[in-house]
Amino acid sequence: MSLNRSFFVPLDSPLHRLNPLTKLTFVFAMILPAFLSLPAFAPGMAIPVLIAVFVGGVQRQYRGLLFKLILPTILFMFFMQSVFLPIGETVIFQLGRFDVTLEAMQTAFLTVSRIFVMVSSFAILLLTTHPGELMSDLTRRGLPPQFAYVIISTLQILPQMQAKAQTIISAQRSRGLDTESTFLKRVGAVVPLVGPLVFGSLVEVEERAIAIEARGFTSTRPKTSLHNVPDTNADKIIRWIFLALVILSLGGRIWLS
């Protein structure tokens, strides 16, 4: 089992070299027009997102996410919305008692386009940005360190919690707990797992709080960072461009509506 779970792929691409905030701006420059601008915009936003995948050199990892996570999710949503949305008159075909209309399919397509753009652009951010660098850059810019700590440590500690849950399950099973038969029995089997896991975690949280406190976590001195996260002029220019694009797309919507 990988103990160090993060999506980050260590490469040296133009996207990897960008400042984390620039990539975060990219994410919002994709998402905001997809959600708030003209509906016709949403599918189009997939193009810059896919170009970014290639610029970042993370096609293989993105493909993995696409087939395992993104496509199953959006196909399911597309099906549900097409079949069950009670809108429109233009019936294309019938599925049992349900009419599948053109309007419902159009709405479904818009929704899944937006979801695709949102999840994919975040995926690009995570694939090309070391989470530690993302947080240290955001902390330097004023994000409360406690907030950054909660995000990073959760990402790291979750796999440890999973491993621990597995140990507890094995321990309970060795004492005859049934975790593999009927659904109801399996649900019942979760109960003796919760106590040790939750109470054990509470003790751990206290100890971890002591440990980070002992290392000056609540110090009022200005914090420094081990890693220098470069923020070049090019970064700043790119961020302004993204911002301008967002304003243009939203302005366009207001203008045209």
Partner: protein, 280 residues
């Protein structure tokens, strides 16, 4: 000169009736290595937390008496300033890993980032500390991929890099296997030899006998004995009160009743026992 000074310290955890520490008077001189022994529930951890400032700042509760370290008084200091003078490491190495860092190098630098050490100085200090504790080869590993002994050495290094004046250790080897124990004790020994002031709660009496300057025996929150390691660790009082004592002390004590141990001083370590038994 005393760097740690506890006077008439009594402490009660919140929502409890009986004090965890009662009328503790303890002075630790600069460069001294003091081991704290006692059965479970004797107050060893509470004493460690008190010196490290977590009692009462973190645990709250009721503390009377005075706790001084390096001239500062605990009740009038804030915890985040206090920890700059006193480093604390405890039993479970896993829970001492911050969880916020991806490599051992970053993990050790975490404390220095928090207290605002400039980047260049930070790197030098982390490298030096890792060299000192012998973990330079782990620099790029994930802290979560290490063995217990390695994790504990990372935890110790993370504290040492902050250059505290006093190192407080609460049973740092209690969850280690023999190899891990040896690794961790190796680091502590290096620290003691370099003249660092160490206060360590520990059960492994044979090791204490070899390396501590002084042993304090705690029982039900009070100091029962305070003296030279061999005097304290072989005292009859410890046996009566249910302290863990060395098996060599037990054997020699029984042998003495049958005239098979002729020395005045009972042994604590294997070497001492072997020498003593050669006399008869």
């Amino acid at each position: 000169m005393a760097i740690v000074n506890l006077e008439n310290v009594t402490y009660k955890y919140p929502l409890t009736d009986s004090p965890a520490l009662q009328n503790i008077n303890l002075r630790v001189d600069e460069g001294e290595f003091v081991a704290v022994v006692g059965p479970n529930g004797a107050g060893k951890s509470t004493l460690c937390y008190t010196i490290a400032g977590f009692v009462p700042h973190f645990f709250k509760g009721e503390l009377t008496g005075t706790v001084e370290v390096a001239g500062a008084e605990s009740s009038t200091s804030s915890l985040h300033e206090w920890v700059l003078n006193v480093g604390l490491a405890f039993q479970n190495p896993f829970n001492q890993i911050s969880g916020a860092k991806y490599t051992v190098f970053e993990e050790i630098a975490f404390g220095l980032e928090n207290i605002g050490v400039p980047r260049d100085e930070m790197k030098v200090r982390v490298e030096e500390a890792m060299k000192l504790t012998g973990i330079s080869d782990l620099a790029d590993r994930s802290p979560y991929s290490l063995s217990g002994g390695q994790q504990q050495r990372v935890a110790l290094t993370s504290i040492l890099v902050m250059q505290p004046k006093v190192l407080v250790l609460d049973e740092p080897t209690s969850q280690m296997d023999p190899i891990g124990t040896r690794e961790v004790f190796g680091v502590i020994r290096t620290m003691a030899e370099r003249g660092m002031t160490v206060v360590m709660a520990e059960h492994k009496v044979e090791w204490i006998a070899n390396f501590a300057d002084r042993v304090v025996a705690l029982h039900e929150g009070r100091i029962l004995l305070d003296g030279k390691p061999r005097e304290v660790l072989t005292s009859d009082i410890l046996l009566d009160k249910g302290f863990g004592i060395s098996r060599y002390t037990s054997v020699a004590r029984k042998a003495k009743t049958r005239g098979l141990w002729t020395r005045q001083q009972l042994p604590v370590t294997l070497e001492e026992a072997a020498e003593g038994f050669q006399d008869v």
